[in-house]
Amino acid sequence: MLQILIQGFLLSGLYALIAMGFTLIFSVGRVLDLAYGAYLLIGGYTYFHFSQTLGFPAAAGLALAAVVGCAMGLAKFRLIVKPLGGGHVAVEISTLILAVVLQAGVVLVFGDSSKILLPIVPGVERLEGATVPYSNLLAAVASWIILLGLYCFVRFTHTGRAMQAVSMDARGAVISGIDSDRINAITWMISGALGALGGVFFASYTQLYPGMWVAPLIISVAVVIVGGIGSIIGTLVVAHIVGFMEITVSALIAPELRGVVTMLLIIGVLVLRPRGLFGREEI
């Protein structure tokens, strides 16, 4: 029981971090970024290359991953999203293609086989039969800190408020003098950095492999759909629902059913409550 509680909390914190970047784009830019999973992919491999292969300190590896994610986000916005002029379907399809291209690119550079990230902090702690690797603990704590920071940023800074405004009413925001282009670009950069950082933690939790963008994308989709568009609190709560459900199912019922409940949750909520459990609030 304790094992489930601990594993559930650790995993849910990570899921919240991963889903947050996806939610941001969906609420501010109003498009689904199907290449979102690729940030995790590229972030994870960036960290692997610098910190594990070249021997940079872990903090430098994390920072570099965030920078690369940021740059990817900006490039994606400038080169794909903006030229397509906000057509939803067009963005969804081109980002899907982009994700497959990036996956092939990773295979080209790093090969097909999975890589294992060394624990960022080695060692484990045992609590009455439950095992807590320090690395997973770090991932969860870091996720919480980053999310708190994001919350403060959105609430209390000028740029953050502008993001809120664009997310609620893009046209109205433009009329009131907000440069929606700039806000969008910033949002894409933040989303990229969040995704890349999430990727490092996700990979240290599990493994690095070229197809690793799909699972987090599906999780993000689940969290966003169930939580409703663009609510930080909704995202947090639903990330915990999904995380705990996965852990409970795989520990108590069968490991292979793990993903099934997540899918059923997505389908059920979309069909019954298309606006999500939490409806729409500000980001």
Binding site: P83, G87, I93, L96, A104, I225, G259, M263, L270
Partner: protein, 313 residues
């Protein structure tokens, strides 16, 4: 229905060309054509649902998989002859089409795309869990009965199937029904305003799409002789289908056909030069460029080229 003679002539030329092909090219090329034919069928099926009505499906492998798995299980586990199992598979897929239709009655746009994606992932997970003794679990099944032997026979069968589907869809889209379907993609409200039953039209589109997907999936699996969930309910497979339809030109019948042939041959052409994952890198990159440059696809590029020629004359 308006039919122009030069359209008919073009179709006749295509049919004739395909019939003569085995006399002109080697077996290797024919094998590639077979895969292109099946991809064209899947892309046409996707286009009937998504290209026309605007309900973008990210779960098309879900439908194809129902058809493929139904006939695979029936023939392999229950020794049902193929002549019975394939029609049953098509019916099962049409039921699957109705399942996909349910959310489409309530949600639109990105949400619909996501729910279909969830359908595909759910199917992938379920196939492994529910009765793996029937489905073969993660590893799927091999040694399924094949309908044909040899490249030439496989080519004729797949070509006949593909052309039959393509021509009937082409004719269908020329009827009032087809035009109404496309109108849903443009503006659902105005179709409703003009007194047509949108629900009935959508149901028709979804069932037609599922019919084609089931037919294609069943024949495809009896061509391959094996089935594996990882190859079927896969984002990469989905990607190939959608890209084929879009690169060729969504909302037309010839577009998905052109797209499927272009992409399959691009991939085969690259094989000797770029052996591994490099191929997908180049392939995906080209797809992205074409899509970004002309979202209406090769067919629009072609028409623009023709138009320019016409003007310069």
């Amino acid at each position: 229905m308006r039919l122009r003679w030069h359209h008919l002539a073009l179709w006749a030329a295509l049919v004739l060309g395909m019939l003569l092909l085995p006399y002109l090219v080697g077996n290797g090329t024919l094998r590639t054509m077979i895969f292109a034919n099946y991809l064209a069928i899947f892309a046409i099926s996707w286009d009937v649902l998504s290209g026309r009505t605007g309900y973008v499906s990210f779960g098309h492998p879900f439908l194809i998989g129902i058809g493929a798995y139904t006939t695979a299980i029936l023939t392999k586990r229950f020794d049902v002859p193929v002549e019975i199992s394939i029609p049953l598979a098509v019916v099962a897929t049409m039921v699957g089409g109705l399942i996909v239709l349910l959310p489409a009655l309530r949600i639109k746009g990105s949400y619909f795309a996501l729910v279909t994606l969830a359908f595909m992932e759910l199917m992938y997970q379920l196939v492994q869990v529910i009765r793996p003794d029937l489905t073969g679990g993660t590893r799927g099944m091999s040694g399924l009965p094949t309908l044909t032997r040899g490249a030439v026979n496989g080519f004729y069968l797949s070509t006949a199937l593909m052309l039959a589907i393509a021509i009937s869809m082409w004719l269908l889209m020329r009827t009032r029904l087809g035009i109404a379907l496309a109108a849903i993609g443009m503006n659902e409200e105005s179709v409703r305003g003009s007194g047509l039953s949108v629900t009935r039209l959508k149901t028709f589109a979804f069932i037609t799409s599922a019919f084609i997907a089931g037919l294609g999936g069943a024949f495809y699996i009896h061509y391959l002789g094996s089935i594996a969930p990882r190859a079927l309910f896969d984002i990469n497979f989905l990607f190939t289908i959608i890209v084929a339809a879009l690169i060729g030109g969504a909302g037309t019948v010839v577009g998905p056909l052109i797209g499927a042939f272009f992409l399959t041959f691009l991939l085969e052409f690259l094989r000797p030069y770029l052996p591994g994952a490099e191929r997908y890198f180049v392939y995906g990159g080209m797809a992205l460029l074409i899509y970004m440059y002309q979202p209406k696809g090769i067919i629009a590029l072609f028409e623009a080229g023709l138009g320019r020629l016409g003007r310069s004359r």
